[in-house]
Point group: D2
């Protein structure tokens, strides 16, 4: 099996931990496993720790136009737009993704009126995945919401696009804690590996194709009256 060349790809890893740098983030610990694979494959990887930035809540592209003194979102958005892959990482709190992860998705959503030069939604052609850590429960629930948002916004989702680690139910050690021995968890290691390579494969494929053809999915074309094979429903 030949090794594909992923060296023209780039990825942004946005860590939605609630802890500012330089505090240890367990989520970053697992994100690094994926990032290290990408780096070893020649992919350009950038990291953003969302909570380190001054990013107001809101659903407008730039909140400085809506009463906030500062908004670092536009710079982060540019990073995401310049990358082929978006990996969202989140810790779990009470079974849910962090409020920072929700704020990230709200801000991504705020740009969703934009379209690319084919008239498609702006994130078409990019791929997305997620990494989740906690100490007791909720990997899948968090993944459901984040992958849903990503695909709804226009990202493509390859197979097994979520990976995570949690311990046995109840309070306990977190991912990077020695006593968790999480680095020996074969399931987490395998899923993180498959997630990473599937993001790379799909990003590479879509990049080679120049993204999705605009036939049947261009918002601008729809608004101009194109319908392709769509026919108004007849009721029986």
């Amino acid at each position: 099996m030949s090794k594909p060349d992923f060296s023209n790809l780039s990825a942004v890893f946005v860590n939605c931990t609630l802890k500012k740098s330089p505090r240890q983030s367990h989520t970053r610990g697992l994100m690094d496993v994926a990032a290290n694979i990408m780096v070893s494959e020649g992919v350009t990887v950038q990291h953003v720790r969302f909570v380190d930035h001054e990013i107001p809540p809101g659903v407008q592209p730039d909140m400085t136009e809506h009463g906030y003194a500062k908004d670092e979102w536009p710079g982060i958005y540019d990073k995401i737009m310049n990358a082929d892959i978006l990996m969202i990482g989140t810790p779990i709190w009470l079974g849910e993704r962090s409020s920072e992860a929700s704020k990230l998705i709200e801000r991504l959503y705020a740009m969703s009126g934009k379209t690319n030069d084919k008239g498609q939604y702006i994130y078409y052609g990019k791929v997305g995945g997620c990494i989740i850590t906690g100490n007791e429960d909720g990997v899948k629930h968090c993944a459901m919401g984040m992958l849903y948002a990503l695909q709804h916004l226009g990202f493509s989702i390859p197979p097994q696009a979520d990976a995570g680690w949690i311990g046995e139910v109840g309070p306990g050690p977190s991912y990077l804690d020695e006593e968790a021995n999480a680095k020996e968890n074969d399931f987490t290691n395998r899923n993180t590996t498959f997630l990473t390579y599937n993001l790379l494969h799909l990003a590479r494929l879509l990049k080679a194709e120049g993204g999705f053809p605009a036939y049947g999915n261009s918002r601008e074309a729809w608004d101009s009256g194109s319908r392709w094979g769509f026919a108004n429903p007849e009721y029986r």
Copy 2:
């Protein structure tokens, strides 16, 4: 913009309504909008109304080996395996997908130990999407769970892989009811169209590639010791 050729693709539409034939299924009504587009593009489309078949609950490939007299799942599984695209349709009950939709996912999951000839999980290379109808609320919640399950099992999810229709909150007419006037809902029509074409584009692309390369995502290779770029996490 040239029109791609989708004529070598095939799709299975599984309607998870709780109502047996020949009762009217509103979900089928919206599924037909997508199916009709596919047919107009030369795609081979098959429909399965899950509740019309005798399919026991369970997470084994064939429940006749576990105490049930009859199990029509293996035949439906074959249809799904022979198709490039799986579209799941569900009504909404109390904000959730139907129990039939859950049973379908359980039975899909029951096959997930199988691998293809590259050693990848069996659904790799296929694409999945969903269509949801109700009369008041829950399209996105149902989509979250179903798209999550599909990608976790190995399906790829193109952009905007969910479409649906609901009316204003509270009891009211359903999709096919004249007074709902749902067929004029531009949002539903557009989303259903984009969903359909994005499934076709991604299925076509993956089919042309022979599915995903096995580099970095083969369960059999992992179990045999392959790790590709994965390195055991070092903690800092």
Copy 3:
């Protein structure tokens, strides 16, 4: 602290495992912990293993009126109506409650047009809780959906009305498997205990009060024009 008298209370435990009797149900294992507490407190406890009964899908009170030869739901509904407490147990499959649990909720919902002698929805005055087991992830997600459904249907939910057990992420032993050592999990034991007693306390309180007063929540009164303190919204 005096010990309350719970001996006039009754509870129904509905186990939504996918496995028919006499196969071992891990979920039943944890449900028994709660049931044993109740029995030790003099509560009358009945168990129903949902999958052992012939219960068609559907949202009608009696599906024999809708084309099915048999429907054991009405008898189970009577048991639930004769009890003060409903405990739903479910295994987790792909992060979700079982299709049997969904079918149970659909059938409970099918009765929601009924009202009691105060004109309130039929389940008012009863309390509900849930128990979830799996081997890797999803207790909270399953609890979210089931407790939501219960309260929406009219059940009251006491504090910490969910308990469960899962192991570390990934495949592994289930609740009753010796090597899981789940019976020593202090978190699960404590949560199961608190869940159980909180159901008893709230059920006892509501029973002593004769359920909820009908002031402000009677469907029949609303339909007859009662509005109590509600005033039609004025917009500003």
Copy 4:
């Protein structure tokens, strides 16, 4: 039917809109319907618009001890602790509660190590509900997560503790927009009324009882070895 006296009760309404004052909040519009009922019944009602306050993310009681210059959470927490009822309001973004609602729940959760004078978790004896508005979909999904969090933290949830308004699927007017005509939605008005009165009934009942008896649910007693009727599981 006599009218209960609710005049010794108090409630805090926390609006988790993403919009700062004085911008119009549609969610506040529907919250006012509930608040007005409470005021008409003599209940003391306070409003908090979460986004108007400087509240860092985090899961510590006071984030000024963790690197933030300011944290208004402790004052809001005091308001919640002094009230019998907590009503959370949220808008819907991409089918989910707002990031502000998630931050509120994270901060509530940060206090969950505290116990009352019976050794129970600190929110025992309080009741909680939620109000959700959006323009297209997601009331139930948002309610599932918020009611789950509330009960898990120790709040009690009365019947039908969620109310909301959304329009037909797709973009459209919001709750307070004249053309939505939402104030005539009988379902929303009725649910909001029942939600409000059920919160009042249960809060009144629990207040009269002095909260929950500590028998079987005191964290401190459990930690000191009390087990009440709990017996360590025997496996069969």
